[in-house]
Symmetry: C2
Subunit: 335 residues, 2 copies
Amino acid sequence: MRLAILAHEQFPDRAKTAVGVLRYADDDVVAVLDRERAGERVREHVPDVQDAPIVASMDDVPDCNALLIGIAPIGGGFDESWRLDVRAAIERGCDVIAGLHYFLGEDEEFAALADDHGVSLRDVRRPPDDLTVAEGTAGEVDARVVLTVGTDCSSGKMTSSFELRDAARERGLDAAVVPTGQTGIMVAGWGIAIDRAIADFAAGATERIVQQAGDHDVAFVEGQGALVHPAYSGVTTSILHGSQPDSLVLCHNAGNETFGGYDDFALPSPAEYVGLYESMAVPISPATVDAGMLNTADLDPDEAEAAVADYADEIDAPATDPVRYDADDVLDALL
Amino acid sequence: MRLAILAHEQFPDRAKTAVGVLRYADDDVVAVLDRERAGERVREHVPDVQDAPIVASMDDVPDCNALLIGIAPIGGGFDESWRLDVRAAIERGCDVIAGLHYFLGEDEEFAALADDHGVSLRDVRRPPDDLTVAEGTAGEVDARVVLTVGTDCSSGKMTSSFELRDAARERGLDAAVVPTGQTGIMVAGWGIAIDRAIADFAAGATERIVQQAGDHDVAFVEGQGALVHPAYSGVTTSILHGSQPDSLVLCHNAGNETFGGYDDFALPSPAEYVGLYESMAVPISPATVDAGMLNTADLDPDEAEAAVADYADEIDAPATDPVRYDADDVLDALL
């Protein structure tokens, strides 16, 4: 598939979905739309992903099959400043792929226009209609279940999941990511956006997708949010108990001290988080924090090495930065 | 309002909603429908609530304004064996009040019939359409916020909330219950069924209703589920962080050792739960477990007294059974 990715005014630092797709999807990205960076290129900002031109609007996008919404504001709404580009994409015959809480398929203009032009509006955050409560049976799968958990949102859980999968595959293991959020679903082509499920069914939805991956050797479940996040902790907890993991990987952004977007709330330390995650997990499945992932993108090489070593000490488990170094560094501790 | 309450084959022990409405609502209950107990009376089974005849079907119900579905199976589905009674109620001109995940208003037969007969189908579990993520601001309300939490589902959180409200009112305080589940909403006439909210918005929904009660002296927030429940822990956690309580009340059924419906999972002890709830609460609001509520309905008087004393020792806080004794016994510890 030839993709254009919309990331207006947010590429790359606040465009987690765009960067995730650039890094992990098999699709060709023909352009990134960011009206504030038009004329630049992706690799000027993110060196280790596929390159593409950055353009101001759909008018400047080369031939493509789909427009993917690569940003997700807090609350998951649709920003009306994107409407012209979405309209233009549909009129060019492109599918539109979005992971918003606002479903494009329920937007009257887009639905009618897509119908006229014979294209699909793919709202990957829409959960299945037949979800129900968890039975408490995810732990029965054959796969080893490894859950990435975080100290905050956007702390590297999806990235770590895919990097761990690739490291396991390099060792000849049959490994899968179990995607629980819009970006992971866009990259892997399946999964359920747990944060969009009815709260009562969020653990049940997690259980279902873990069971769907249950025949692999190892399933890396993408975690969401953080266990004591002021807004999203319920999603985190549902995934922790619904997936019944064997092992946890704690993901953290080096230096972060407050919750992103919630500056009044101090982040518990990584060591405190180890205690919280383990004490919450253990009544349902005997999982421990067996490895750590530290995002050191903002540090220079010497600082990064020291930060990873300190982090490993603090959480009392092997740690790495899976992008700067290699997820394989910690894989032994998880298998 | 003159209510009939449907509780087929489950009254009273598995009819939590029916018993809650009988005990706390201002409405007159003219009959309970339970085809297995037809001919008996409510007070033969639950001595301390308003009395009413138990009947086999709507055919035997005296004049009334509404039929209330007083049972809620796991998963919240609609049992087709109830269809005849719901149909008969609508045809008699009764509103139908339900708290199921299955919305009666979306049932084609019921919707058409209700339209024909000019009655309302009130699905109290349907959340508002405009929910969004929590801002982390519930802690700013003037009211003292007291959250009832449990060791399992059906452990007395709603009952304790209403009993505490009444005890506080008897002391001249302006006290309210903040209802988070279908029964509490039916009794109090407002609230949001948090378990039905989109998982991402569950804490935000809680925050909204706490703020709506923020001008009272004290707001007793009805908790849901349990913090390490295999299926519902996400709802519990969303309420814990969304409500930012000042104080917690731990509710427990005397003698319970496994999760109801999940017999493979041992219940952590009440003492362990105190540690779990407090360690999970504290990063967001400085709440401690300041009182305990023990359901001793299955014990004789001597056993009950000893069990409450043991429970108070175990959780290191004053405790009572708010139905057998009085919620006022522990109110000082919460104000």
